[in-house]
Symmetry: D4
Subunit: 164 residues, 8 copies
């Protein structure tokens, strides 16, 4: 079974990353979600990634805050695409997590999304776009989503717009 | 034909992005590369993305510097995965391009890589990882690349290491 | 009819940008205000800009947050002056939007104002200053506004000042 | 006579701001250029702005580095549009000048362009766009410039592009 | 009469700068405090500085936020020492005001203190230290203040310390 | 007696640094905790460090905010290991304290931990790891702590995880 | 004898701080200059400050880079005015030194100047302005310097200016 | 045998980290130095850390650039003290590496040193200080080093100082 695997570094990141899971659910894309830490449970993280890959994980989404090493650790343990979501945790509000996630050395990519909730949702979208390369139904859903987003803008506008 | 499309915002970004193309070539992944700007040639950019998508582009890689809108413009015009490479152009050395590329609003993902050359190479790697989901031969090449990278580390170490 | 066109990237920016509209109203400058997104409704954005320009838009004011591409998109689709207001949206509180708006490449200017409410009001003032180049009545109003601002400072001071 | 006034804070900024003057010249827009400092010659700055305004200055372009107060000083002494170009001077390479120029309080706008050479050229473009509101010939030149810029992108691309 | 002159850019800065005035009062140093803006009341600012200097102002303390030009404007209009306090106003919380205040060009010094309340109090302290060079009584008070500050640390410690 | 010495720059840092003390207590490591400031009580700071070193202090933990010189002052007065915790005090939320603590010149190390509470706890952990080099019981406790942390991750995960 | 005391943290800062000394010399203000480090020679630093104060030092100028604690150390050991010059040393080019110097806690002011050479010269100017409060001859020299600076601007301008 | 273990993420970091090894050698502290990457050779890294710990490693020093995960990976695989040196690699000159190294979550400390060469030398010093807790000879050497550093300051000063 082909699915998306979401690994979050701490249960406290769940509130935000639930939006990632919700987005996948809305598009009917199967996913797993576990808590595992690059530092507190490094073995569990490695083992999980290997097993998930064998079970059919197509894309990994890793979310962590501060010195966010989780996405990099995923990337080091799989050749599947890894997407990183910098969490807004701690004093620096995710600026540390953004740099810790995106500035990977050559040969070890992490496709990084925006800090926080926007990134959580967009990691799901990017994973869906990747899955859709092999799934025409999904591709159609993405196109419909675009159209509905554009319509939503028009609707929003109509509530406040001033046209001469 | 399935291929990767590389769009660069300015000919001056070519020196760096040639490394992206080289990496794709090394793995035998077909690609297109054009110069098109979100601002100076917005219509050309849109038209190209639509046509490339129809011709079989699976992943778009967009590279731009400063107020780097190119990846976002690609993302707005396709539902294929879009990867962004912030260029080190201008006074702020890519910090502006990083934020302009990665901080996308919900529903419009750009999978962002590191600033500059590392990002150029990694955009290719991530694109290859995405292509490899449908291509077992490519998957094997990625795994071999990992092994050779690990070996290279050992070799590098052997030249300078001190072991008691 | 000559007017100012305000394009805001998201309905959530309205609370702040209403101050921009209020300022134009206070000076009697006609304006349009619509919601349109560079990413979620790119076509609507382009179409609107072309039509507004034909209808008489003299200045465009674009307000967006995060990877704020809206002002740049306006600039790419008109040769009228475009003013950009970076919104305080998201985790980075507008630092991303400031750089995404101001760091435009040569030949594609966006006259950028301060992040948030001060910028919203100042975009209106700068637009009025531009309109006033062709409108003596408006020019006089701007000069009166200056005088009343200077008087307000004196009044404010009188409430708290300590003079030996 | 209607013209653009360029005020630069230090002779050392001339190398960069000459590009601003060149751009105005290319479009046939008359301009003045003087050196005057907000701090070292405050009176000269004020006097010049008043006189230039009386002589027909339509737009002021102020360029300064570090704690760049020149554009703000211009803005405080005229109600004509003031555009600010943060110079790349000093240790912080213009980050200080950008914030000192753009973060103006309500009612005192400075339309700010990118740091350094891109901003120098774009200040000219924005001034030309403002002048073009009253000058159809200039408007046509701006549109032709856009077309030639788009063609230049195609030409640049043709030298390096790879199409399947 | 020798005194310290406090100029604040906006009445909204008063809450913080009142601490500056309080500190001067505690040490028995006479002061004036007025609101005047570098941009909204440039003439008033200049006139006041000249008059205050003639009346006996020994040190100027200028407090402003955002693109904080007030201290620089004072420095340009007097050769008395000018101290700058960056206010925590606006979205960037004083990082803009710090750079706009401290990064002055050669020959135009502003002795800059910390952002916000600590800087407000310390501007008073530094002004008192400067006044104390001509006033032995004041010098003694400063030394007593140091001793009492050191004692306060001991007292604070005694409430929570753990000694083996 | 071998112990850890915690020096905090201000009583207001106690709330956070109590977590540091708690962690040491949990592992049964003796500690002292005092308030002393690099600036307000420089002599007390020096005297305390010398005396603590003589009494058996093995590691110093210094916590301070803003221009955080306390850890550096400790380092200058002892050759025992000094660990620094940047406090989240003031407007810049610890970014200033981080740089003031970590960027020490050659020959004067401060082992710096994260800003705020995470750093407070980790300074204790690092001190315990250093003490454990001479204390096998402590070493075992650290290993048990690791195991319990990994188990906690599993437990946390079990409450929210989704496995296919 | 009344003089200015310059303390520099490292001989490598001399090249820049020589400009500070030169400026004092130009105005005929006596000065001392020594190398002493807050960390490598803390006792020497304290002893020197006490002795210099007794000998007649009116103002201390402290220059250091990175985690620049020298100005703060001076401030902790004297109640004379202390001016700080952040050096451009190290990887962060003085941003660390700026924050380490300026963000002092309440009651311990350091009047901070710009990073690097501009700050070195301006520390001298500010010290001279402080000395001039007791020295009419010096006050006159400062006023003449201003006039000559304003004339220099005019001269600079005349070489490049374009007037319609 | 008790020793210090230096792990560097890339052979290109060797030039800088050789200074770390040199410092250990100068103090007669045995060390190992290997190249191993958190991402390119994760297994080698883990295996080495375990083996080094068994062989007697007392302190680990990890040096890496960009999204520097190496120190964190070490910390996750040992309970010995881990010191981190952010390398000046890549476009962001070590600001990314600093945050990726220092901002570790609770319970997983990395004692972080300055970016680049100063940090490389200081990691050695801090490791020596830790080793010296069990080694009186080393303690004496550290004290002598301090004295010689203070003398060097005096010597440096004597070459350039100006004393009245």
């Amino acid at each position: 079974m082909k699915f998306v695997s979401i690994v979050i570094g701490s249960k406290s990141d769940y509130a935000v990353m639930a939006e990632c899971a919700e987005t996948l659910k809305k598009f009917g894309v199967p996913y797993e979600l576990i808590v595992s830490s690059a530092h507190r449970s490094p073995e569990r993280t490695r083992t999980y990634i290997k097993e998930a890959e064998e079970k059919g994980a197509q894309v990994f989404i890793a979310a962590a805050g501060m010195a966010a090493h989780l996405a990099g650790t995923c990337a080091a343990n799989t050749t599947k695409p890894v997407l990183g979501v910098p969490m807004e945790a701690g004093v620096l509000k995710g600026e540390d997590a953004l740099l810790s996630t995106v500035m990977m050395l050559e040969g070890m990519p992490v496709g990084t999304l925006a800090i926080g909730k926007a990134g959580a949702v967009n990691a799901a979208y990017l994973a869906i776009q990747i899955m859709a390369l092999q799934d025409d139904e999904l591709r159609v859903k993405l196109q419909e989503d675009r159209i509905s987003k554009a319509k939503k803008v028009e609707l929003d506008s109509s509530e406040i717009e001033t046209i001469l």
